[in-house]
């Protein structure tokens, strides 16, 4: 079925459900559905093979005095996004689609927390994003809340919610790892029976900050890059991609190539980093050291091509800021050849180490059906047999011109996710080589552009951890609303399924196996014995201690 037929089919359905098609672009269809029938429509879309990417609550009172929720679906096979808009007046209830599409739960809870929307079925659920001591009637993403608003920090707000037992203040901010999150694992003897997750400790209000007069379209890429410390370039790329789509800016081909090249270099270093951390968690420190040694030339290469080892800072709306000349190209190809050889030799050793293979096989299993229901992304999805890759499904930048395989394993265990990453390193090296060889001539940025107000666009970029989605409604000088959905956001709910009924010793590797990136979304883990109530804190790296018992 061609793209036109798909769009026609969607249009037909929208009319059938009493909705309106707002705009159709090359990559997305924006529709408005009466809120009474959105559940049915979402169900139809979901059964037609669409994955839920995310939803975004928007305070549109200054435009049309309504609150809106945009449900962003992606038809992977057709490479088209379907954006459902439902809206309500202040105080009116909005339906939830979480019963039809389980993946919608988190983003609906976030819309409830951040905008104070009344979403049916979520009334009694605890807060997801906002901290417990946040005042009750302040909704930070509403436009009338100033971007630099700080609630008075008072003990009173804690009130009755203060837990009666207080653990040692070790977690959730672990001194070794820089990202705080909080897992409570309920164990019965050695088995995990339930998981409780509390995250968003490092919610920095970046979306709100970008709406402030402090930032403009030009400076937000640098802010976006700081969403994540490992895959920052993905976020800045996704931001510029979305703005360029909204404003219909034609980006020079050479800039597209450079963006793709740097994205792949970022993927290589991120996967190597993860493999090293996985080895470390499993107590194979020699492997950890060697992988990071292999990774080092990639970091230096990134510095050579962009000017910085991390947070490259070369993305701007309409192009890039640093060019790749012939001498850099030659050096890059040399480095990649060496890294490929060294990594190949090392992987042979790595996959023959019994402590890696035995502990990764059959642990943390995520069945394909659950992976589909939760719309998981990236290596987590590909390890569970879902062939999802934004680079193939929704080609952007220069990926159309590169040939590469998408590694898929059907086992769904930790080893499958590990092998997906190993394979992807080789694929990425090959992509960079292809793109460097085919680098076209020309300018690297457009001279000038104009960004009209109130255009909407969805952009998705394949991060090392999965699909990163940005949704933008343009405004004057800066986005009116900028919604960021990092890949880990989509993958964490799957941990509940992976962790249930696994031995405690494997929990640490399993949590790490989705390659969590919590600032985008501490690796301190609380373990509580169901029978005795005994409670203690542990770091992710302590997993081997349990294994050796």
């Amino acid at each position: 079925m061609s793209m036109k037929d798909v769009v026609k089919e969607i249009e037909g359905k929208v009319v059938e459900f009493g909705g309106v098609v707002e705009t159709i672009t090359d990559t997305a269809v924006f529709v408005e559905i009466p809120k009474e029938r959105v559940k049915e429509f979402a169900k139809w879309l979901y059964n037609a093979g669409a994955f839920l990417k995310t939803c975004a609550g928007v305070d549109e009172r200054s435009i049309n005095s309504r609150f809106a929720v945009y449900h962003i679906f992606g038809l992977d096979e057709k490479g088209i996004d379907v954006v459902l808009r439902i809206s309500s007046l202040e105080g009116e209830a909005l339906p939830s689609i979480a019963s039809e599409v389980p993946a919608a739960e988190w983003c609906e809870l976030e819309a409830r927390d951040m905008l104070g929307l009344h979403i049916l079925g979520h009334e009694s659920k605890p807060r997801l994003v906002l901290p417990q001591d946040w005042p009750n009637a302040v909704y930070p993403l509403r436009k009338d809340v100033p971007y630099d608003y700080r609630p008075p920090s008072s003990v009173e707000n804690f009130g009755k919610e203060l837990p009666s037992e207080v653990g040692l203040p070790v977690g959730p901010y672990h001194p070794i790892l820089h990202e705080p999150e909080y897992f409570e694992l309920y164990v019965e003897g050695e088995r995990v029976v339930d998981v409780f997750y509390r995250g968003f400790h490092v919610h920095r209000g970046i979306e709100k900050l970008a709406e402030s007069p402090r930032f403009t379209y030009k400076t937000i890429p640098f802010l976006a890059e700081r969403i994540c410390g490992i895959c920052g370039f993905v976020h800045s790329s996704c931001y510029v991609l979305t703005v360029e789509r909204a404003a219909k800016i034609e980006v020079p081909e050479r800039a597209q190539f450079i963006r793709s090249i740097v994205l792949e270099i970022e993927r290589i270093h991120s996967h190597l980093l993860w493999l090293g951390v996985a080895a470390h968690i499993l107590g194979y420190d020699a492997g950890f050291m060697h992988i990071w040694r292999i990774r080092e030339p990639i970091m230096v290469l990134a510095e050579l091509l962009t000017g910085s080892r991390k947070t490259y800072g070369i993305n701007i709306v309409g192009g890039v800021r640093r060019d790749i000349d012939e001498s850099k190209k030659k050096k890059a190809l040399d480095v990649l050849r060496n890294v490929r050889e060294e990594f190949k030799r090392f992987v042979e050793v790595f996959t023959s180490v019994p402590e890696i293979v035995k502990r990764a096989t059959g642990t943390g299993v995520l069945p394909k059906d659950d992976a589909r229901a939760l719309s998981v992304v990236g290596p987590t999805a590909r390890g569970s047999g879902l062939r999802r890759d934004v680079r193939k499904d929704y080609p952007y930048f220069a990926y159309r011109l590169a040939s590469f395989k998408v590694p898929v394993y059907s086992e769904g265990d930790n080893l499958a996710r590990l092998l997906v990453r190993v394979d992807e390193v080789f694929e990425s090296i090959s992509i960079v080589e292809q793109l460097l060889d085919a680098l076209p001539r020309g300018s690297i940025a457009v001279e000038s552009y104009e960004i009209p107000s109130f255009r909407k666009a969805v952009g998705a970029v394949e991060a090392p951890r999965g699909e990163d989605v940005h949704f933008i409604i343009t405004g004057h000088g800066r986005p009116y609303r900028w919604r960021v959905r990092a890949p880990t956001y989509q993958n964490i709910p799957a941990l509940k399924i992976m962790l249930r009924n696994t031995p405690l010793a494997d929990a640490f590797l399993t949590i790490a196996s989705i390659d969590p990136c919590f600032s985008c979304t501490d690796r301190a883990v609380v373990i509580r014995d169901v029978r005795s109530g005994f409670r203690r804190f542990a770091s992710l790296f302590e997993g081997r201690r349990y294994a050796n018992k």
Binding site: R214, F215, K218, T219, F222, L223, R226, A286, G287, H290, R293, E296, V300, E303, L304, L305, T306, G307, S308, T311, G313, R321, R322, K328, R345, F346, E348, V349, S352, V353, P354
Partner: protein
């Protein structure tokens, strides 16, 4: 079979022996930086106009401008700098260059701040300081405008234009 399974992890030893030691003797060895590394910026006070273009593009507000009496101060605070180099790309006077300096630790916050101080010109009509003297000098080099025009602040320029316009239509003052 059994032997090879035990032996293959040991191949790491041959890799390790071949690679040898990779830790660099920083800071005694050769520099670790590549040619395109971006470090702290340096502002040449002789070239700077004090126009403030850099403060507008600086994403983290590391470059700020403030008035101090009759002086205009451009402050560079390294503690906030993200080393993106947008200021160097933007500077119309090419006064900012990106250096390779990255060892920026200091014992006091004040050591991380650098000031470029500009004298301000006073408006020829109202006498209020309104712009850095260096900016008037350099703008006049680039644009054929008279000194009389350049030495008047935007407020007075506006008033004068309105007055001239009014007189043409017969207003008394």
């Amino acid at each position: 079979m059994q032997i090879s399974r035990i032996a293959s992890p040991l191949k790491l030893l041959t890799i390790a022996l071949k690679v040898g030691r990779v830790t660099k003797k920083y800071p005694f060895g050769p520099p670790l930086l590549t040619e395109s590394f971006r470090g702290a910026i340096s502002i040449d006070p002789a070239k700077c106009w004090g126009c403030g273009a850099c403060t507008l593009v600086c994403p983290p507000n590391a470059l700020t401008m403030r008035l101090e009496g009759e002086k205009i101060v451009l402050e560079y605070f390294k503690g906030r700098c993200i080393f993106c180099g947008m200021c160097a790309d933007t500077c119309p006077a090419n006064a900012i260059i990106v250096t390779k300096e990255f060892e920026l630790a200091a014992t006091s916050v004040e050591d991380l701040k650098e000031d470029v101080i500009h004298k301000m010109s006073k408006c020829a009509i109202c006498g209020k300081p309104f712009v850095a003297t260096a900016e008037i000098r350099d703008v006049m080099k680039m644009q054929p405008i008279t000194e009389e025009y350049a030495n008047i602040c935007p407020e007075c320029r506006k008033k004068r234009a309105v007055k001239a316009f009014g007189m043409r239509f017969g207003a008394s003052t």
